[in-house]
Amino acid sequence: MSTPVFIGLDIGSSRVKVAAIDARRRLLGNAVRKSGTDFAATAEACLDESLGMAGVPRDAIVHAISTGYGRTNVAFVTAQSKTEIGCLSRWGRDHFHGAITIIDIGGQDNKVIQLDQDGRRASFKMNRKCAAGTGAFLEEMSQRLDIPLEAMDALARQSREMVKLGSYCTVFTATEVLENIRHGKKVPDIVKGLFYSVVKRVIEMDSHAGRVVMTGGVVAHNPYIVEMAGEMAGRPVVLPEFPQLAGAIGAALYALDEADPNRIETNIPAGETHG
């Protein structure tokens, strides 16, 4: 008999993330793909990939819960969808002891979520409608600078004299970047300036109680942002093992919560989930 699995599907604006966990909350399989225009098809592909990695067939799924912008676009969920804020909180509660602040930088929006001492969500904030400081901002800038997204982290680390960008909005920042190029500024210094503006935007969104943890695709691919956030906040900022999967794992944990309690192993210490 196959290991029963619990699936979380995070259908984000930029990427679809799927996590498969077992009853002991261990991450058995996962997948990340570009969301594209057909969320349902991408989610199916990610699900197959995750189940393949976990080595289980479809009928091993006990429950599946979706989250993210496209949470209502997937066909095989078994319970009501949850918000990504709820799923990140659920993940944070499972993974950390004590009060934490989760800073999530997603493709389209940023979130700052406070969990209290007992792991309950005390508050949350999302960025305003503007995309400045989000993954979309960095994507736009990578195109403007004609450098691949995945090269940005290494470039930023080469910076010797960071360019400070003062604008509040993506369009104005793009103009500022062009101006700096015209003035002969080095690309690594500009990229570090872009990272700095992202960090500044998310750090300023809210106060930070307890340990600070950063999640989302942007920090998964650009860990230098987490280091810079730590410097700016004046305290260490935690980068978890699978930052991009945090929401999907949270959804999988909700799926586990939904399941028949008799099938679930309980009394597992917090933090044992690998993800």
């Binding site: 349902a40 979706s66 912008y69 949470r71 209502t72 676009n73 997937v74 066909a75 969920v77 009501q80 969808s81 949850k82 918000t83 990504e84 804020i85 709820g86 929006d109 309950r120 969500r121 005390a122 508050s123 949350f124 904030k125 999302m126 305003r128 409608k129």
Partner: protein, 415 residues
Amino acid sequence: MAEEKKTTRKKIQAADKMNKIMADYFHGLNEAATTGKRKVAWCTSVGPAELLRAMDFDVYFPENHSAMLGATRMSTDLIPAANAIGYSPDICSYLTADIGAYLKGITPLVKAYPGILSVPKPDVLVYNTNQCRDVQDWFAWYSKKFDVPSIGVTSPKNVDDVTDAHIDDVALQIQALIPTLEGIAGVKLDMDRLRETVSLSRECTELWKRVLETAMASPAPLTFYDGTIHMAPAVVLRGTQTAIDYYELLLAELEQRTRDGVAAVEGESARIYWEGMPVWGRLRQHSELFAGLKAAVLASTYCSSWIFPSFDGNDPIRSMAKAYLELFIVRSERYKERYIKEMLEKFRIDGIIYHDAKTCPYNSNSRYGLPGRVEADTGVPSLVLSGDLNDLRCVSDEQTKTNVEAFIEQIAEGR
């Protein structure tokens, strides 16, 4: 495919009567303006309407018209016309939508009330800046357009306790309007008539308060979204018997609902307070969003702003001044904080949502740390939603949905 659930709130039967009242009101205004039988005054929503009614003006409220432009989702296409003549997209979107509509020769009154072709041409424009400076600028534009006087009261702002000095100031300004209005109306102000009008306004306001207070019941028999619709007579027909008769009818229906345990939102499981302006173009969506989550948005500062306990027929002008000054929007942060805390307790609220309306700083109370202070003192969780009253370019539906769903989740998980 996971279906998105659509749940609507229960319809209030008195709505049909209200629709008739509003139709009569607008047709009356149209008749006054097109035949010249009666003079028409345009008035801001908490301007000196009692004085105007007592002098037999038909009173038209451009803010009501702007709300209609918003609710019919016409405003976003009209605002740019006002932007193009120099009125910034960052200022009041009631103003820009209304001026934009005039520039384009469009009004929702045409479709809503057959026979009406335009907004009623004014003989005078009368403002009170107790809400904001924008109303004065708004009327200044129409004053030039129609070549009619724009007069009014420039109100103190950020008032902590309303003192005699404040009341003296506004009362004198109201009195100073009288000669000009008499000249336009062609009649002398009859003080007995003013006393009677102020008394009628007081009665209307008391009934409206009782209507809103029916939401103290659990489950609540009406929501904020009902309130935004049913407040219309309290806004445009204050000082008339018609408004009083309507609220007696509405109150009876709601009290019956309470006796029968009828919920406006089936299975009410969270009680929410709305602070700030409605998003007029999203009333139905928001109502369905909350109802689908079994959350009742049942009380608000906005609807409660048409409660004026100080109107007193025995001292009409001073009591008008006092009533206009006691308005929430005129008050200091300290007062607002105290008021909101009282409302949260009175209506046994589980969560408060602040609408930060991009173009309405005066009615956005999340900008000076108030949500954090109220939450720290009361423990009632809060959420700030970015949006706007009329400019839907400033509204992100998906972000609103995610924020609201996450907030209701948080309230449920906090229990």
